[in-house]
């Protein structure tokens, strides 16, 4: 689960990390009060969306009057911001962060991720901040440090000193950086983060370290024990069909093809998409109905797939391990009646009670292509989608 910048910064403040004073607004008229509350005579106004690259797309602006802040808020609230990290629809802007202006002497980079190779939380630091870190890693790998933190010991001061060297910090900044690293690690563990990125971490003209941005992702498996963070969830930042699917414990990702897919299991769902592509078709989505697919979930899945106007045919691929194919077949029939499916449906059932399932499907009011070989089923779906 992603957080907005202002939410990430609120967490940072909770852990004594240096962030700018700021106010978040949801209505343009509140910009004046926000500017006064923040104080000063210059402000940075930032559109809040779950995507990077906002600055280059006009979503971040330096203003020197509250009127300009109001204008900015008016121009963005309710609109969609398109950046290189979003799709062509962009992300809805429903809040604006108004911050005090920070002077910048130097921009650095700091992030933390769960690294699969070392099986540790790893901090990544670089003296090159404010730019695309992947580029830095490619061109000047010597400017990046990777420091793994032991889960039991936590971040140690010597590790902060090591990272400081690569960041190019002086003695005073290194002193500031040590508690900063330890607090970031504490935040990472206590709030179940999966990613934390400060790009840029800046040195101010006064020589102090300051977190100018805060990107925070939370491990969705751990939301159950983070009730405060669960409250921060902003559904407007997600694809509506993906959000609807998530509500029903379905895993759905929308793609740009025209063959709707309903599959049990994430791996098989990807494999089914690949098979469609292999035979010259284009999948409209990834959809995993889960290992314990019930009739209700199959029905719900059908609705979500058919909500996509591009879908010309639906391919159902179920390998019944835990799930019984006869129950899936009943679900497909119920969904067809309930939703009023008018496009062709190809069903491949294999495993647990597959024969009974195929038998049930033959009773459908519309013609269902029941094919128990995946290659043939995929070919049929591709042919029908043309």
């Amino acid at each position: 689960m992603n957080l907005h910048e202002f939410q990430g910064k609120a967490l940072f403040a909770e852990y004594d990390l240096p962030v700018s004073t700021g106010k978040v607004i949801y209505e343009a008229e509140d910009a004046l009060k926000a500017c006064r509350d923040v104080g000063g005579s210059k402000w940075v106004v930032k559109a809040q969306v779950h995507a990077g690259g906002r600055g280059k797309s006009g979503g971040v602006k330096l203003v020197d009057s509250p009127d300009d802040a109001i204008e900015f808020a008016k121009s963005w609230l309710g609109k969609r911001l398109i950046t290189y990290q979003t799709d062509s629809n962009g992300q809805l802007v429903n809040s604006i962060l108004i911050e005090e202006c920070t002077d910048i002497a130097k921009e650095l980079y700091l992030s933390a991720v769960i690294d699969r190779d070392s099986q540790r939380v790893v901090f990544i630091g670089s003296s090159e901040g404010g730019v695309n870190i992947e580029e830095v890693a490619k061109k000047t790998p010597e400017k990046i440090i990777y420091e793994a933190i032991d889960p039991l010991c936590g971040a140690q001061p010597f590790q902060a000193r090591k990272i400081s060297k690569v960041l190019g910090l002086n003695a005073e900044q290194t002193k500031q950086f040590t508690p900063m690293l330890q607090n970031l690690m504490k935040l990472f563990v206590e709030k179940d983060l999966s990613l934390l990125e400060i790009n840029p971490l800046v040195i101010t003209n006064g020589g102090n370290l300051h977190c100018l941005d805060a990107k925070v992702n939370i491990d969705s498996n751990a939301i159950f024990r983070q009730p405060e963070i669960a409250e921060m969830h902003d559904a407007s930042q997600e694809d509506p069909r993906e959000a609807e699917a998530a509500k029903n414990d379905l895993s759905y990702v929308s793609l740009d093809g025209n063959i709707g897919c309903m599959v049990n299991g994430a791996g098989l769902a990807m494999g089914t998409m690949d098979t469609i592509k292999f035979f010259g078709g284009n999948p409209a989505n990834f959809l995993d109905v889960g290992g314990t697919a019930t009739q209700e979930r199959v029905s719900k899945a059908f609705k979500i797939i058919l909500d996509d106007p591009e879908v010309k045919v639906v391919l159902v691929n179920i390998f019944g391990g835990i799930v019984r194919c006869d129950l899936i077949a009943e679900g497909v029939l119920a969904a067809i009646e309930e939703v009023g499916v008018e496009i062709p449906v190809v069903v491949r059932l294999e495993g647990n009670n597959a024969d009974i399932g195929s038998e049930i499907l033959s009773r459908a009011v519309i013609k269902i292509e029941s094919i128990n070989n995946l290659a043939d089923a995929a070919k049929k779906a591709v042919e029908l989608a043309k």
Binding site: Q119, V189, A222, G267, L268, T275, G291, I322, A375
Partner: protein, 291 residues
């Protein structure tokens, strides 16, 4: 021969009296798995599916001396259950549960490695040695004893590979689902090592997917250490970047973990890559007939 489990393996089920555990334990017992008891805190002293229920692993250990554990407890309690089994001297732990917090797994993985315990999963279908023992949720009917060892990050995709190797008449020595999480208890390499040493296994099928570099690491290991033919399939060739495809581990991030990269690396290391999901069985036949 087989790997990890056989008829003699003495299995306890953690979270034994829950509905999923009950369903799958029943099937496992029917299959011939030697389930010697189960653990559900607060229900010690009862009998479930004809087997004794214990409050703690320590009691189970003393009373029925298990050497393997199968875990079905809900995700918030998996860390505790895995550590309880590991600290009690269980040698093989299989955690089926999906949705275990990643940071829990960092702690768990460090401890099981220190203790020398083999952990499979979490978020996996478990493992089966056809004709001997089933410790997991896979459909028994598609498996037959045979010569192909199967390792996979995904559940239903494993079944697909199993079905195809059954259909071509080869069958399986053992099948291991290592799970789709970012921090799995066992890696491809851990299991490849066991299949290399197992005389019954003549060929290995490794089913991977997008995300991480586990397949690339395995490819390098295969090149150096595995003399048996390895056939691989990588799921997610059509997955877009930055979108998590169901499994917590299946995401292409920062341009890393793409199917194309993995396939390239596997081919470079002498692995036989099936072009599509439906070609796994035929690829195994082709490779074995050449050898």
């Amino acid at each position: 021969m087989s790997i990890l489990v056989d008829k003699e393996t003495r299995v306890v089920v953690q979270g034994f009296t829950g509905s999923q555990a009950t369903l799958h334990s029943e099937q496992a017992i029917e299959y011939g798995t030697n389930i010697v008891g189960g653990i559900t805190p607060g229900k010690g002293g009862q009998t479930h599916l004809g087997k004794p229920v214990f409050d703690t692993m320590e009691e189970a250990k003393k009373s029925v001396n298990p050497n393997a554990s199968l875990i079905f407890v809900p995700a918030p309690f998996c860390k505790d259950s895995i550590l309880e089994a590991a600290e009690s001297g269980i040698e093989l732990i299989i955690c089926i549960t999906e949705g275990v917090p990643t940071l829990d797994m960092l702690d768990v993985k460090k401890r099981v490695d220190e203790l020398g315990v083999t952990l499979i999963g979490p978020n996996c279908p478990g493992l089966i040695t056809p004709g001997e023992a089933k410790l997991g949720i896979m459909p028994a009917s598609i498996h037959v004893p045979g010569s192909v060892g199967i390792i996979s990050r995904s559940g239903t995709l494993t079944y697909e590979a199993v079905k195809q190797t059954t259909d071509i008449g080869l069958g399986q020595s053992s099948c291991v689902g290592i799970g789709g999480d970012p921090i799995p208890g066992s890696s491809f390499i851990d299991i490849l090592k066991l299949f290399q040493e197992d005389p019954q296994t003549e060929a290995i099928v490794m089913v991977g997917e997008i995300g991480g570099t586990a397949e690339e690491d395995a490819a390098e290991y295969i090149k150096q250490n595995i003399t048996k033919p390895v056939v691989s399939y990588i799921a997610g060739q059509t997955a877009p970047e930055g979108k998590r495809m169901g499994h917590a581990g299946a995401i292409i991030a920062g341009g890393k973990g793409t199917a194309a990269d993995k396939i390239k690396k596997l081919k470079e290391c002498g692995v036989h890559v099936a072009d599509s999901l439906v070609d796994i069985g035929s690829k195994v036949s082709e490779v074995l007939s050449k050898n």
